[in-house]
């Protein structure tokens, strides 16, 4: 019997209309259709979602952790880039 594993897929779930898809986790499946079915069973069985995206994990391009200095640190000392001086009106959700 073959020990070869099915490819890994990343699963993104939209929890309700108007929100964006969020990474929910990953799973194994032999093709895209099976990945959607498995994602439905693994990640939405307690009605967590209204839409599913799956992406084969090896198609995801990730940033290099060793470059986290040049990539992210310059943003730390620039408080003026954060909208911290605005009052968020009541009734605005998902901010």
């Amino acid at each position: 019997m073959s020990k070869k594993e099915w490819p890994l897929w990343e699963v993104f779930i939209r929890s309700k209309q108007g929100l964006s898809h969020k990474h929910a986790g990953s799973l194994r499946a032999s093709d895209a259709e099976m990945a959607i079915n498995n994602a439905r069973d693994v990640y939405t069985r307690r009605s967590e979602g209204v839409s599913i995206w799956v992406v084969e994990s090896n198609e995801v391009v990730a940033s290099d952790p060793s470059e986290s200095g040049p990539l992210f640190e310059p943003a730390n000392s620039k408080a003026y880039r954060h909208p911290t001086f605005y009052e968020v009106p009541d009734g605005i959700k998902h901010m």
């Binding site: 099915w6 799973l27 194994r28 259709e33 079915n37 498995n38 439905r40 069973d41 693994v42």
Partner: protein, 252 residues
């Protein structure tokens, strides 16, 4: 036979099909070939047991005696179970479980489509709620039949064996007797002959795509609807009923 008796019997047949198949699938819990499929199979099991609960609740109401859905599920003896023989067949390998599910899902899908138009509002409502689940079950099992049939030499050989074996039980799905005639006259259910051709057409399409063969002539077995079961049901019930038999009236 009165209409009430016929209705009760019909509801029990529906409930038992779902209960017994649901229990069979639950046996896969923790034993699935992969984690994802383990969860998928137990999901199907929960859907089916949910359907059984609804049929049993309505049956208990129709009967009007002092029995509830748990009594009906757990406290009857083997000969009082009226499920078809197909659903009580053992799980075998994953391929056999899939073939059994496939043959049943296609039937349930067409049946529930008809039951949506039932004159009995309760039956129509249960069918409407369940058919969404059934359509997913059907997609799941059909896709797997294609993958395994048109898969490796080994998977093809195994599902073909299971299909040949389980095709002995398809005619019983369309079994009808006095119960069905009485309810049919009242517009509560339809004649199963109305969708039998469609059933064989639907499964044939998937079987062709899976490069499998449905045996042309196959000895057909029945008896389940009359309570005459294969040897497997007794063992299944022993496990299913253990808690209620050992600790009568226990509640979770």
């Amino acid at each position: 036979m009165t209409k009430e008796k016929a209705l009760f019997e019909y509801l029990i047949r529906r409930a038992d099909d779902s209960l017994i198949l649901g229990h069979r699938l639950s046996e896969w819990c923790g034993h699935g070939p992969i984690l994802e499929e383990d969860i998928a199979l137990t999901n199907l099991a929960l859907d089916l047991i949910g359907q059984a609960t609804e049929w049993f609740q309505y049956a208990a109401e129709v009967e009007g005696e002092d029995r509830d859905e748990d009594d009906l599920a757990f406290m009857r003896i083997e000969r009082e179970y009226k499920n078809v023989l197909l659903v009580e067949q053992t799980n075998g390998d994953f391929g056999k479980t899939i073939v059994r599910q496939f043959l049943f899902d296609h039937f349930q899908n067409l049946l529930f489509e008809k039951l949506l138009e039932s004159e009995d509002e309760q039956i129509a409502a249960i069918a409407a709620k369940s058919i969404k689940e059934v359509r997913y079950h059907l997609k799941h099992s059909s896709e797997w039949v294609i993958r395994l049939g048109d898969g490796t030499e080994e998977s093809h050989k195994r599902v073909q064996e299971s299909l040949t074996d389980l095709s002995r039980f398809t005619e019983e799905l369309f079994f009808q007797d006095e119960v069905d005639q009485i309810l049919n006259k009242e517009g509560i259910i339809c004649d199963t002959a109305d969708f039998k051709d469609q059933y064989y057409k639907n499964i044939q399409a998937v079987i062709d795509e899976a490069t499998l063969q449905l045996p042309e002539k196959q000895w057909q077995l029945d008896g389940g609807r009359k309570g005459v079961h294969s040897e497997h049901l007794g063992f299944l019930l022993t496990e299913l009923q253990y808690m209620q038999r050992t600790y009568p009236n226990m509640k979770w």
